[in-house]
């Protein structure tokens, strides 16, 4: 069993990263900046899920992480496509 | 690729037959399978080069992890300290990689290494434009990049 202190510390670090990333998302200033932040948040969520799987001992949670890792970047692709087709970057 | 597939199948067969579903046993099965394929290789053209590729792949992974850690430390230092040490810029890197897959692999692995980010490929696919964070020593950076490309191509070709 992993020391709960470690687990909690990891949770703390990861939730802190999510919060910080959201600040970038909110601040922008450009659309790509926000998208990068969103990407990072998605990655951090994957990490949180991993930790949660260890925390609870339920491996099934990893399936969510797999799906997230496999598909979350689609949003970024969508945003990039938006920019490529002439969508405003400062919106 | 076929070789790898065969190797995985062999590993699986080993785990099932041995009735022990642990990770270690699977790795053991993979190693056994690799040995079998390495022996088989001269007689089976379809496996050509597989025996060489696996150690190269393992070596590459280790190399890549080293690069990763090295670059991460560099970036981390700059991010965490108030003054900026970085000298970012976009450079052009001529490619030895030719096929789409090769170019993509090279570009992505370069992207994965902190401090470098693949921006785009020229229309004739011969130059990769890279955004780099630390252009203080461009020469060694280029050497590192070429080294990565070389090792990738070694595995893929």
């Amino acid at each position: 069993m992993i020391n709960p202190l470690v687990i909690n510390l990891v949770y703390l670090l990861l939730s802190l990263s999510v919060l910080l990333s959201f600040i970038r998302l909110a601040k922008g200033p450009s659309l790509p900046d926000r998208v990068v932040a969103l990407e990072l948040i998605a990655t951090m969520v994957v990490a949180i899920i991993g930790v949660h799987a260890i925390d609870t001992g339920v491996a099934s949670f990893l399936d969510i992480a797999i799906v997230l890792a496999l598909t979350a970047f689609l949003a970024a692709i969508g945003f990039a496509r938006f920019l490529e087709r002439g969508g405003p970057r400062d919106d | 690729m076929i070789g790898f597939f065969a190797n995985v199948l062999l590993a699986l067969a080993w785990t099932v037959l041995s009735g022990n579903l642990s990770v270690l046993n699977m790795i053991f099965g993979f190693v056994l399978g690799y040995g079998a394929l390495a022996i088989l290789q001269p007689g089976a053209p379809i496996l050509a080069g597989y025996a060489q590729r696996v150690p190269r792949f393992v070596i590459f992974i280790l190399f890549f992890i080293r690069e990763l850690v090295k670059a991460n430390v560099k970036v981390a230092f700059d991010v965490l300290t108030p003054p900026w040490h970085m000298q970012p810029g976009v450079i052009a890197m001529p490619l030895k990689a030719k096929t789409d897959l090769e170019i993509t692999m090279v570009a992505n692995l370069i992207s994965l290494t902190p401090g470098t980010l693949s921006l785009d490929v020229s229309n004739d696919r011969r130059v990769l434009f890279i955004h780099a964070m630390f252009l203080q020593d461009e020469k060694s950076l280029r050497d590192d990049l070429h080294e990565i490309e070389r090792r990738i191509l070694q595995i893929m070709r």
Binding site: S60, L70, I77, G78, R85, G86 | D100, I103, N108
Partner: protein
């Protein structure tokens, strides 16, 4: 806002194209995996369908509508139709046994030591899968076509 037909920057390149091509089979395979084991572990037709559709959407973004239509071969509406039909039809076999609509029918047999479980539930889930893929593709393909 710029005219949609006027290019504003360099087209997407080899990297995304190749990545999409490489990811497509991976994602589709994974989606089928999610579909088949959904009854026992997280997954199921809906989740699998979303993953599968995501794969095609990625391909669509990288390669465009025409190329996507070529690889999926079916019209998205046909996929949708097949899905809904499978879902609906799976309600009926129960009637043959004099059981209420939607009563699950199981056919379990042994195949070389592995237990194979076929059921109307699986048919239903496959229907879900196709319907979801069909839905998302219909929407996204129509939208991108409308854009072009």
């Amino acid at each position: 806002m710029t005219e949609p037909d006027k290019k504003i920057m360099k087209d997407n390149t080899v990297i995304l194209h190749t990545a999409a091509l490489a990811l497509l089979p991976l994602q589709l395979l994974f989606s089928v995996f999610l579909l088949l084991r959904g009854h026992d572990e997280p997954g199921g037709g809906f989740i699998a369908g979303l993953v599968g559709a995501g794969a095609v959407v990625l391909y669509l973004f990288a390669h465009g509508v025409d190329a996507t239509r070529r690889i999926i071969r079916f019209d998205p509406r046909d996929l949708l139709g097949i899905g809904l039909l499978l879902g609906t039809v799976s309600a009926f076999p129960a009637l043959l046994r004099g059981e209420p609509f939607l009563t699950a029918q199981w056919w379990i047999f042994d195949l070389a030591g592995t237990e194979i479980k076929l059921s109307t539930v699986l048919v239903f889930d496959i229907g879900v899968y196709f319907a979801v893929v069909g839905t998302i593709l219909t929407v996204v393909v129509s939208l991108t076509e409308a854009e072009e």
